[in-house]
Symmetry: C2
Subunit: 344 residues, 2 copies
DNA sequence: GGATCAAATGTTAGCGCTAACATCTGGTTT
DNA sequence: AAACCAGATGTTAGCGCTAACATTTGATCC
């Protein structure tokens, strides 16, 4: 209720909020000094800084991030592109990213492709338009034009979840090996008639990679590797449906290797309701290691992928890269762990 | 690989990407015409538009959103502030918001307060600094300075989850009534010795409101309403721990009314493992209506809150407001539904 | 053929900030 | 006391775009 302004100065719209210039006038310094108080306080003498800070408080200054980012061609935005928000896995990765980036003063721009590459390309383009400081994207496979655009881009690109040399940085795990690992476990347990079951396998090629690992191992042992696919998004009831389908259509099946824990858990819970004994009537295995799997009876045999850690480590590497520290390996294998419950 | 530029024109840094001016030169129009092709294509003659679009393609123009937003004092950002990303409820709300806003060309800026009001205030300030088009925030209670700042702000503010007249718009449900509703159900079932159990009840005052509804109803019937609180974030094992604690410390307890489904589900799964019969030994009720509750045995008795719908409707109202359409009720009661399983 | 007018396009002046370079302090050195 | 210099502060010129106003175009009418 103190500062009056000459009423008809502005020729343009705009919220008419106090600007750096107002703070500068109020504290008797130049705008760049105010800017320095905000961006590199150590480069301003303490007395000056305090005067400016008081003025900021007094006029109720809220800095305009758009103007700052435009002038410096850098927004402290991190573009994050995931294929789905319905899948807990990506939520946990985002959580890891968010926590770490936020600590360093970066803001996430979240994009959801819904497993659509065209959408992915659009999102990349938009996010580059925001002068993002870096981009984190799921997987190693993208639209060709999109990959080209990112290669030309001068800032860090981090591809996560899947393991391999991509555009720039990479943190992930080998889904092929994970599928193979679980298949080996099932063989070790003595199962021979094993069905792989997944949903939305077209878009989700990481699940397909796991299947390929599974299939190759079985074939090396002279076994068949049938697969059942559902077009729906992964959900408990799809797991239940898959279980019933396999019991009826493929009698004699000894184990079902599900593409993810949600499906596997849905199958176990349904088996419990229906009086189907797991693993005696049919063994069940999953992938991901969601907390739920360890609380149901029987506990789910699955492969644990460190989801938050992927986010955290990806963020740390990106930050190191932004701040000019060299990041040694551009491919980081985060690994996975077989977690044996009673279900298989 | 076609366009060469005079090499020492620019005095400043910058990615040296093609700009509107480059496209304008390339297509023989003025920059504002290119701008119009991008922002209001209908106001440009078709022939001109096609020429410009071709030029955009040719030079590989990517628009600079920062510059556009600065010039128009509007970013098409929607600030979204939630207290937690570990809680599925907020994830689903975010999903509803995201899907709807994205369809209308808005980008979400996501902030996580971790149930800390100071953090909330900081986030609000930052997000206003991005010239957001609107702000969606969880709950009706905020830091005083924060509320004042939002009241002064000229753009739509949407407070969600909780029901009541707040700063501007509101979409939510009455948590007090929900707590009361479940308490009534438990009384109707004949339970009298009922314990309420929740986690992180200090920050999460919506859970506390539910407790108050529960408590008031019990007291109206001359019953006590003991409460058990855990400081940890809600998780399956906390529910299990709470169940064990109550069984030992409060023998004779007939029902436990949990603050959320995660706790309640954890308790049921643990009871199954421990041979505690639900609801015969102890009845269990939850709140939220997560899918899981309907797949376990016994099915969880809970109150379903339409989480994605909250996000969707909140987004729709905000968009209507931004686009100048009057939004009639500024308080929208989304309601809730009692969902009776076998657990209580 | 000129008046009329809406549609299409252009000109100008910023939006609010920061990079780059310039200048000013005031203490230290010789 | 002049020279020197690092640290603090200031001046200038944009960053790339769009609002507001200005002008041109061309179809229609009398």
């Amino acid at each position: 209720m103190s500062n009056s302004e000459s009423p008809e100065r502005r020729k343009r719209r705009g919220a008419d909020n106090p600007t750096l210039a107002d703070v500068a006038r109020e504290s008797g310094v130049s705008t760049i000094t105010v800017s320095r108080v905000l961006n590199s306080p150590d480069s301003v003498r303490q007395a000056t800084r305090e005067r400016v800070e008081a003025a900021i408080e007094r006029v109720g200054y809220v800095r305009n991030m758009l103007a700052g980012s435009l002038a410096s061609a850098n927004s402290r935005f991190i573009a994050v592109i995931v294929p789905s928000l319905s899948n807990v896995v990506f939520i946990e990765v985002i959580h890891g990213l968010q926590t770490t980036f936020e600590k360093h003063g970066y803001q996430i721009l979240l994009g959801n492709t819904e497993y659509d590459m065209r959408r992915e390309h659009e999102l990349v383009q938009t996010f580059l338009g925001w002068s993002s400081s870096a981009l984190v994207i799921t997987g190693l496979r993208h639209d060709e034009a999109c990959t080209a655009m990112l290669r030309r881009w001068q800032k860090p690109v981090m591809e996560i979840m899947e393991l391999g040399q991509g555009i720039d940085l990479n943190v992930g795990l080998s889904h092929y090996d994970a599928g193979r690992c679980m298949a080996r476990h099932l063989l070790d347990r003595g199962y021979r008639r094993i069905v792989y079951a997944g949903s939305q396998m077209d878009g989700n090629y990481r699940a397909r990679l796991r299947y390929e690992g599974h299939r190759d191992l079985l074939q090396e042992h002279g076994l068949e590797a049938p697969i059942e696919e559902w077009p729906d998004a992964s959900a408990l009831e799809i797991g239940a449906k898959a279980l019933r389908h396999v019991m009826v259509q493929r009698p004699g099946t000894e184990a079902i290797h599900f593409a993810d824990d949600t499906l596997a858990t849905g199958a176990i819970l349904d088996a419990n309701r229906a009086g189907i004994r797991v693993p005696d009537d049919v063994a069940i295995a999953g992938f991901t290691g969601l907390p739920f799997g360890q609380h149901i009876t029987p506990r789910l045999t699955t492969i644990v992928s460190p989801r938050e850690a992927i986010g955290r480590i990806a963020a740390e590497q990106v930050i190191a890269r932004i701040e000019g520290k060299a990041v040694k390996p551009s491919v980081y294998d985060i690994g996975f762990e077989l977690c044996v419950g009673e279900s298989a």
